[in-house]
Subunit: 189 residues, 2 copies
Amino acid sequence: MARTRSLEAREKMLAATAELLLESGVTGLTIDEVARRSGVAKTTIYRHFPDRNELIIAALDGHVPIPRVPDTGTFREDLIEFYGEILPIFMSESVRRLQLDILAAAARDPELARLDLQQTRSRASALRTIYERARERGEVEPDVPYADAFDYLEGPLIVRSLLYPPLLADLDIELMADRAIALLAPRPR
Amino acid sequence: MARTRSLEAREKMLAATAELLLESGVTGLTIDEVARRSGVAKTTIYRHFPDRNELIIAALDGHVPIPRVPDTGTFREDLIEFYGEILPIFMSESVRRLQLDILAAAARDPELARLDLQQTRSRASALRTIYERARERGEVEPDVPYADAFDYLEGPLIVRSLLYPPLLADLDIELMADRAIALLAPRPR
DNA sequence: ACATATCGCTACGATACCGTAGCGTAGCGA
DNA sequence: TCGCTACGCTACGGTATCGTAGCGATATGT
């Protein structure tokens, strides 16, 4: 079997797709442009993927950045490290555009919805781990639903990234951590 | 002058545009479909608006819901009233889709960016008024940047609406108000 | 070296839009 | 009643995309 060429072409087109997604978004990406830029013939792309959506999904499958899960021993330090890691990602204008694009596309195309889920889930899971550890250590009020915690743990980041990207630069990571901690701290009994 | 017919056609096309925006979003809206649905000839649409973007902007100009600004005398009650008013808006799936669509489109098309601004600004201004009043009454720490306050005043709503719409239903308005107030309360000196 | 999997290329058919032109018609004001 | 204005309609020219067909060239494994 001649698999080498096949793999090479596949990688080239996936790379070009990921690149184009950042530039043009889900809506703006076209197969023709992927072909042009990757040097792979359009027909070959269709030999690998049945349609546009599958290509997009495949391209993103590998490129979802999975943040490290810090484990410093304290909630506060974990949060600060985590924020420090994902803030640069959020600050990228192209990432922001892509994120919005995926959300918007997923809201209309059920096929793409799973993509969306995967996107946010992977990031959310790291934060969740941090939160669960803090809960086990007794650093947070145990019966707060995680959804509520998330609103405050990552909310400011998301709000600014999606709605007011210039304000991301003003975000004080430590302050954000302290505020979240203050809200989630165990209540005295 | 024969202005009556003109106005009538204009209103019909704007109404159809607004309707279509909710269904198909900014990206999905086509002039042909507006023509079909409104009963107004496509040519007439172009006689009123130079291009697609202008039509979209005009259609939304009138349809941005401007929330009332409650003035109950206390921060907490103001917030709860405000939340009660805008929560139903956020809970509409079509509004959510449109909001995402506008954000995504604005992130790419500078012409549409002003639309986006107007959208969020009008809502934000009501909340800001509430906040300023509370500040004058001494109910909040005076030197917190408004951007920070906003993160917590409206963040949970935005996060859930855009990222996890099903969780909107779980949102406890009073609890959200209390948490925001706790964070923003004046520090003892 | 030979067979076969895989690729590149060009060319399509099919849609779907955009935005415009030209012509005839109907309403509206004087 | 007359004339202007705005409209409706059909038909374009142009572009972009999707997804497919057919054929020749090339790499790979045996």
